[in-house]
């Protein structure tokens, strides 16, 4: 049982680094005009309101709102310069014409795909929200309130998975982060599937078919001998799966 686990980890995980997917909040500067003078004036004022929030914060230029003709006029290099003067870090553009895409790559900026819900983002942008913990930086935690049935597979990409019901035998739950099951875990649960060794699995009743953390796994026979039908957490200790009881609540 431990052999395939070792083999899988040797192939999947290079020694010198670890590749992980991540979702990070970035500020989107959605342009409605190409008038750099106006942008500079208004942006300076905005930054002055909450310098702590804006200092060294990565900025994505949203070009979706601009017509092709306007995009042609836009001087991306100068825009980058004026942002840097305000201690902002231009990082990427979104939704540009092929010319702007080229210019952006020459300036060392990444090119992000067009926003899907333009209407919604435009509505959300103009709100005065100098709070750094802007709720628009959507929480990557996925919450499921219904039972996860045999044959279903639920994956929380880039974050945690919380299941407020049972996970049936023959079902599979996966997360890049932790997995919480407030019910019986009867199926398979795989946490930290991008290689996060600190990921954990929590469940109210451990009746799993298989559990895995960062590629290390444990199957049925072992699970039956380890706190079967008890509230447990499952995590890695020295690279090995460890199942321990959750602290009792009173």
């Amino acid at each position: 049982m431990s052999k395939p686990a070792q083999r899988a980890s040797a192939v999947d995980r290079p020694e010198s680094f670890q590749l992980k997917g991540g979702l990070f909040p970035m500020t989107l500067l959605e342009l409605k005009s190409t008038d750099l003078g106006a942008i500079q004036a208004e942006l300076t004022e905005k930054v002055a309101q909450s310098p702590a929030f804006f200092t060294q914060s990565p900025i994505v230029f949203g070009l979706d709102q601009l017509s092709d003709a306007e995009q042609k006029k836009l001087d991306l290099a100068t825009l980058c310069d004026l942002c840097r003067e305000l201690k902002l870090l231009p990082t990427a553009i979104r939704g540009g014409t092929p010319e702007q895409t080229g210019a952006s790559l020459r300036l060392g900026l990444a090119v992000l795909p067009k926003g899907r819900r333009t209407a919604e983002t435009t509505a959300a942008e103009p709100t005065e929200a100098p709070q750094p913990a802007a709720p628009s930086a959507a929480s990557p935690t996925r919450i499921i309130t219904t039972p996860i049935r045999s044959g279903q597979q639920i994956y929380a990409r880039g974050g945690d998975l919380i299941v407020m019901a049972a996970v049936s035998a023959g079902a599979e739950v996966l997360a890049d982060g932790n997995i919480h099951v407030y019910g019986a875990l009867r199926g398979r649960a795989l946490a930290g599937i991008q290689g996060d060794q600190n990921a954990r699995i929590f469940c109210s009743s451990q009746e799993a078919e298989l559990v895995a953390v960062a590629g290390q796994f444990m199957v049925d026979e072992m699970l039956r001998a380890n706190h079967w039908k008890e509230a447990v957490q499952i995590h890695l200790v020295d690279g090995k799966i460890q199942i321990s009881l959750l602290p009792k609540q009173n």
Binding site: T146, P147, I148, R149, S150, G151, Q152, A165, A166, S168, A169, G170, A171, A184, R186
Partner: protein, 271 residues
């Protein structure tokens, strides 16, 4: 507005058709205009259980293909005034069902004033079963108290809540769990899953428990839905289930082993 109820299970042989016949008959006996559709194209059975196989002229597939009208295909039940049967085709296969065709038939039935449309699903999770459950408002999931049946029911519940039209609209199909072939004696001996176990695994509201009963096989062979036999345990249990489906509060029965009286024991021994 017609209520569409699918009777499904995933696994075969657990009593879907028996249940479809009993529930549709029960609803009709309670005065509701009810249609029951056999979705098991190619393996039609419902007409046998309802004893109308000799009266089948046109079937579900004929209606979908426009070869007959719905009125021509519907068979009026001889025993209950308000019940109509739409039989399956025996000579075709399940691919003959199209989503548009099924939707059209269901809509026509609703327009004809049917209050309940019972869809008797084939076993499996393939096209036929999918067509039977896709338009459902409610589902009666039939399970035997054994692990493979419970597992398959779990699978079908997952499909109901992810692939049905209700799910696509972001709504829920109302789930009902019906446990059939329940033998309290075998449960007591630990040979069979108990009601509580099945209920817990499937996390679904219990509609009824139909005890293992000689009357079911007899009823199928005679072509009289078992609910017409008010003396039998299965008949009573199905009548209770129909009452619960109509929103009534009815105590569950036949869950515990019966203790035979001294008389019965003596009688059994001497017989």
């Amino acid at each position: 507005m017609a209520k569409i109820i699918v009777v499904t299970s995933g696994k075969g042989g657990v009593g879907k058709t028996t249940t479809s016949a009993a529930i549709s008959t029960g609803l009709a006996l309670r005065g509701h205009k009810t249609a029951v559709i056999d979705f098991d194209i190619g393996l039609r059975n419902l007409d046998l259980i309802m004893n109308c196989e000799r009266r089948v002229v046109y079937d579900f597939v004929n209606v979908i293909n426009g070869e007959a009208t719905l009125k021509q295909a519907l068979i009026k039940d001889k025993r209950s005034e308000n019940l109509f049967i739409l039989p399956a085709s025996q000579t075709r296969d399940k691919d003959a069902l199209s989503k548009e065709g099924v939707e059209q038939v269901l809509k026509e039935l609703a327009d004809m004033g049917f209050e309940y449309i019972i869809c008797d699903s084939p076993a499996g999770i393939e096209h036929g079963a999918f067509m039977a459950l896709y338009f459902a408002d409610e589902a009666v999931v039939v399970a035997n108290p054994e692990v493979s049946s419970v597992r398959d029911s779990d699978r079908i519940l997952g499909i109901l809540q992810s692939k049905s039209r209700k799910a696509e609209l972001g709504e829920n199909v109302v789930e009902h769990l019906l446990i059939t072939r329940y033998d309290p004696h075998r449960v007591a001996r630990g040979e069979m899953l108990g009601v509580a176990d099945v209920e817990e695994i499937l996390a679904t509201k219990l509609l009824g428990v139909i005890p293992e009963c000689q009357s079911v096989l007899k009823a199928s062979n005679q072509g009289v839905p078992v609910i017409h036999d008010p003396e039998s345990k299965a008949g009573k249990a199905y009548a209770d289930a129909v009452a619960r489906l109509l929103g009534e509060q009815v105590e569950h029965r036949f869950l515990m082993p019966e203790h035979k009286s001294l008389f019965q024991r003596l009688f059994r021994r001497s017989a």
